[in-house]
Symmetry: C3
């Protein structure tokens, strides 16, 4: 990532990025921010998103993966998509070199490359919890206080014992063969564009036809290249194959859903 | 509330927390922030939520009550859920000791304990209004400028005459008797969990069975204790009895709505 | 706009206001903020709204127009509603005297008065882009970096060649005649109030009756003047005629939509 000329050295307050499935209608996110502002008033808060579908760890992981490279070095990420709150799942503090992470150990951080991990700590030191710890809102009582402390300089070691790593959730991978590439729809964005399991690096050379949920869809360089209402596929801004419809929702118009097949194959005889 | 070791003294800019029913799709919230940033650029803005259902004073009050303890002392709260805008309802500035409040006098602040109130002022001094004052957007023209000034140090006395107190909205209280506890559903959160009028302190000792909208629901310590799709009740993060369904919406699955009865009663003969 | 007594001189960090149709569910807005925080960590970010309906340039323009007067002088606005991303539409940097704008050249900035424009630059200098520039997310790769640099003091001249002005999108104007005023519904807000093309200055003296989608609606000074469930029209907070229903949605109750006629005409003989 090249930020261009004259990137200033970051001398300002540390950045704390928040990601969750709490939505913005309930007071939960505001309460997280209240806790952090109480403990670390100098920290700058930035929301990545709180609109992860409820308890959808996969969608949370994709959002974090897409956004990570754009945050400044030293960012502390608080990420709470936590269907297992109250169970035995661990809470983690992860030092990934360029950034620090506080999250439940449920696969949300699967995209962090093994080689970048400097240490993983189990967030177990009760001195850093809000007391009493509720059984249902660890975001408030466990994760937010730890993220605030991390951002204001407490070292990861303080939060609990070192652990061996964390749960990794494998994404459905694209199957690449001489016959083509077979992937699937992972999630949708607000515009109804489908984000797929096929990455730019999976794309083969040569001529291919593309089928999405059994329907042929043409490649275009960008949405503006096709007529309104026309479907297309392209490599989206996060480096994944996206299927969209210009000025409309591919989800609705193509009637596709999560898990639907996306297939690139050798064109059949007729055309070529 | 114990914030843990080494809580730093707040030496930073004052915190101004915003709560409203404006939603985030219209420019209203952004306009509030523009006004505040114009008048008090040093203030740090934090959203509690703007997703209070339109004109739902009860839901606004519950959100504020749940969040209040987590904001740092000295926080200025701007709270606008104002179905009476343009009528004779008062605008208020309230000094509640640990925090300051700017809100319409319609019950939104009912949760502030009488004993903590230091002074209540009618927000009537036109010197603090944006001129001309519109008839429909007092959030922008009356409340936001006052909150900005309060946060930047103008004392409550400046805003208008002392008044005797403010409108208090009684919540439907849980009825506690030897036969059991009878309460009701007050509101729902994004996950479809029902927040009820029964508080932790209302809960009787001993064995009880719980009926929600006529249906038996078991207690569990936390969501993770029951199987996906199972209903449960527990004491939620704000100290109220909550009724939920693991990884699903109680509102939808149990077909319950606001005002529906929640009953704890002595178990009937068969089981005990 | 009179901000009242003792308005402090703005000595704090520059304000950067964000407006888009990205919604808050996807990570796109968070990524914009990450980019800006990386390049200009001292900048204060304020969201106007990200809830502009997808690709609705008209709604974006109305939101920006309504909010502009309330932001402090010197505000940098980043506005991205960009159905033409990837096409030949220009990206612009506009110096409008009291504020600076970064936006696509598609009519979004039509409300900026010609007389206030000091210079318009085509945003073409690749030194300010994130490299590689994606084909689908110019918000991240082109607009956000430019807005960050502008806010941290890079002059507009640096971003590209001067251009002659920008695309202006004419709003449907109200037709004013001796017989009355004919306008239309432009958009709706969250409360279901209809914002129309009739401005306060278009309103004639004297007695008129008002028809909205063919139905008679009475004027009221403010929502609180009518009974719950009653329709009314008034001059809303942005200076436009608004049609609403007290404590309900005019959109739903009056079954009106964008483009529906709003008519003020001489009362028919019977009543006067």
């Amino acid at each position: 990532l090249n930020l261009g000329p004259g990137t200033p050295p970051v001398k300002t307050a540390p950045l704390l990025a928040l990601t969750s499935d709490f939505g913005l209608d309930d007071p939960y996110v505001g309460i997280l921010k209240a806790v952090i502002s109480s403990l670390a008033p100098e920290v700058r808060l930035v929301d990545l998103t709180h609109g992860i579908p409820p308890q959808d760890v996969l969608a949370g992981r994709l959002a974090l993966e897409a956004a990570r490279p754009y945050f400044p070095p030293g960012t502390v990420h608080l990420a709470v998509v936590d269907p297992g709150v109250g169970s035995e799942r661990r809470a983690l503090v992860v030092d990934a070199g360029r950034d620090l992470w506080v999250a439940p150990d449920n696969g949300l951080l699967s995209f962090l490359p093994e080689a970048e991990i400097r240490q993983v700590r189990a967030l177990e030191n009760p001195a850093f919890f809000l007391q009493p710890v509720s059984r249902t809102f660890h975001g408030r009582d466990v994760f937010a206080p730890a993220a605030a402390r991390l951002a204001s300089g407490t070292p990861p070691e303080a939060f609990g014992p070192a652990v061996e790593g964390f749960r990794r959730l494998e994404l459905p991978a694209a199957a690449v063969s001489a016959q083509g590439v077979r992937g699937e729809v992972l999630t949708f964005d607000r515009f109804g564009n489908a984000i797929t399991s096929i990455r730019e690096r999976d794309l083969p050379e040569g001529e291919w036809e593309t089928l999405v949920g059994g329907r042929r869809v043409s490649w275009a360089a960008t949405y503006a290249c096709v007529a309104p209402g026309e479907p297309l596929w392209l490599v989206g801004s996060s480096g994944r194959v996206e299927v969209g419809v210009r000025l409309a929702s591919a989800r609705e118009l193509l009637r596709i859903g999560r898990g639907d097949e996306v297939l690139l194959r050798r064109p059949s005889g007729e055309g070529s």
